[in-house]
């Protein structure tokens, strides 16, 4: 049996992977978001309200939370992606802070089984107990997290292999050239940010239901900055890049405690060093290209 600590760490890696994938999608189209934590938070709250207060089944709450987060992405993207450059980065941060501050004052409670349940401003939102009431063990939920992550990753990898993924990389590398190949760059970015919101939202739903308690300050800017850094460390050449980033940070730096109190210093230093020597991360496009070639050569040699 896996011990409780390990299940906790692995579940955490799984849930944070969603926000890393979400930030990666935005990076793929050449924009930087400091605000993916907002979509994580929106979905966490929305799904908690649905399952703990309205009595919805978990799967409906999951779809509802993720959809609302996707809608949030759309709302952020439509007015802010008219202009290129740092504009979107700043707007995404402002949007996320706005969401967090609204959650700080958002009170909506109803009586469930004789107890008041619901978001209570900065006091947070307790008793999102769906999975415990349904007798789902932490191990089972961890497996569920990874099934969802595998499905999400599969969808993103399929997109990357298709022409659609080619379009995203066109937009990300040279938006002017993409337009001159007939691509509607703005529509493409808006759709991607909405999809990224949805992906972060899935993570948020899982987070709320595993922890049973959420509060606005969990969804502060550090969560988004980490999500962003995972792609920049792990690499932007494939969706496995951000997952590698998560694994390095949570799996090694946080969990093994080798660097104990210096974790953030090591993490920040890693980002800085990589931005200088490998600005698109360990698994960047060139690395993925070379790995692909080596793989094909090896396969030919075997036949």
């Amino acid at each position: 049996m896996l011990d409780v600590y390990l299940i906790g760490v692995l579940s955490n890696i799984g849930m944070i992977s969603f926000i890393a994938l979400s930030a990666y999608l935005v990076l793929l189209v050449g924009e930087i978001s400091f605000g993916q934590q907002a979509f994580f938070g929106i979905a966490a709250y929305a799904s908690g309200i649905a399952s703990a207060m309205w009595g919805w089944p978990f799967f409906l709450a999951l779809i509802w939370g993720a959809a609302l987060a996707g809608l949030g992405g759309l709302l952020l993207a439509i007015p802010t992606l008219r202009i290129r450059g740092l504009y979107f980065a700043v707007a995404s941060l402002a949007f996320a802070e706005m969401v967090r501050l609204i959650l700080e004052i958002f009170v909506y409670q109803i009586e469930v089984d004789g107890e008041l349940v619901g978001p209570n401003g900065s006091e947070g939102f307790r008793d999102i107990r769906y999975i415990y009431e349904a007798d789902i063990s932490n191990l089972q939920f961890m497996i569920f997290i990874y099934l969802l992550l595998a499905a999400t990753l599969a969808v993103i990898l399929l997109i990357e292999r298709s022409r659609l993924g080619g379009i995203l990389r066109m937009v990300g590398e040279d938006p002017v050239l993409a337009r001159l190949q007939g691509i509607d760059v703005r529509a493409c970015k808006i759709a991607t940010v909405a999809l990224a919101g949805l992906v972060a939202g899935i993570g948020g739903v899982l987070y709320a239901h595993l922890n049973t308690y959420i509060e606005p300050k969990i969804f502060n800017v550090m969560l988004g900055v980490h999500g962003l850094a995972y792609g920049l460390i792990g690499g932007l050449g494939t969706a496995f890049g951000p997952l590698l980033g998560v694994l390095l940070d949570i799996g090694v730096l946080e969990s093994t405690r080798v660097f104990s109190g210096y974790r953030m210093i090591v993490f920040g230093g890693l980002v800085a060093v990589l931005l200088i020597f490998r600005p698109r991360g360990l698994l960047d496009e060139v690395a993925v290209h070379r790995l692909g070639q080596a793989f094909r050569r090896a396969r030919r040699a075997l036949h």
Partner: protein, 250 residues
């Protein structure tokens, strides 16, 4: 097919294009020359929707001014770039395939699914063009790793894969050695010109004279001469634009 009337572009106080008048027939190859800064690339940028301008541009009866670049591309106008533009993080084949992504025939299905008969046909077409420009053995290489002359040939293949009605070639031999230039002129003559309207921007007059029955000379944003290359290159205004006047030297 293309008619430009009274077209002007200003950057602040600078008139980059000044009341340009130009007409092109279907299937014509038009040479566009002029000293550096005379407005050749500006004209191409206006035609492809990157710059705003005043005046009139009509392409097959439709006005182009005010249209977004991606809309203009879909009408069948494709360009290459004086300062080379390829997707450096994609391989050669992916670069050529990228130009097919917005074709009207490529539906949502084709964007998501990787297999299929039509998709294979499109890949074959892309590979055939890569072969035609002599990059067959480079198709798997990252475009950013190619030498300049090969990147220019990649740009040509990428432009042709959409089979544009009007092709704008902005210095396709820029930065090339004489032997490479000759190869490029040959490729353009064989692949690009037949059955297509082309505007060729060049500094190398031999290439213009070999490929273009008619040429237009720009200087300071104005058309200063047009006609057959042999005559235009003898016109006093053209010689003055390129070499200066006698009394400039004194």
């Amino acid at each position: 097919m293309l008619s430009i009337k009274n077209l002007s572009v200003s950057f602040g106080g600078l008139r980059a294009l000044d009341s340009i008048e130009l007409a092109m027939a279907t299937g014509e190859t038009l040479g566009l020359v002029g000293p550096n800064g005379s407005g050749k690339t500006t004209l191409i940028n206006v035609l492809t929707g990157l710059y705003r301008a005043r005046g009139e541009i009509s392409f097959e009866g439709r006005s182009l001014l005010g249209l977004a670049p991606e809309r203009i591309v879909r009408l069948g106008i494709i360009r290459t770039f004086q300062n080379l533009r390829v997707f450096t993080r994609m391989n050669v084949l992916q670069n050529v395939l990228s130009a097919q992504n917005s074709l009207a025939a490529v539906g949502l299905r084709d964007l998501i699914l990787t297999g299929g008969r039509r998709e294979r046909a499109r890949r074959d077409q892309a590979m055939a063009l890569i072969e035609a420009v002599g990059l067959a053995d480079q198709s798997g290489r990252l475009a950013g790793d190619l030498p300049l002359a090969q990147q220019r040939r990649l740009e040509l293949a990428r432009a042709l894969v959409r089979d544009p009605k009007l092709l704008l070639l902005d210095e396709p031999s820029g930065g090339m050695m004489p032997s490479e230039t000759a190869e490029m002129a040959d490729l353009i003559g064989r692949l690009a010109l037949p059955g297509r309207s082309v505007i060729l921007v060049e500094h190398k007059m031999a290439m213009i004279a070999a490929l273009c029955p008619r040429m237009v000379v720009l200087n300071f944003g104005k058309v200063i001469a047009q006609g057959a290359p042999a005559e235009v290159l003898r016109a006093p205004a053209v010689i003055e634009a390129y070499l200066g006047r006698d009394d400039d030297v004194a």
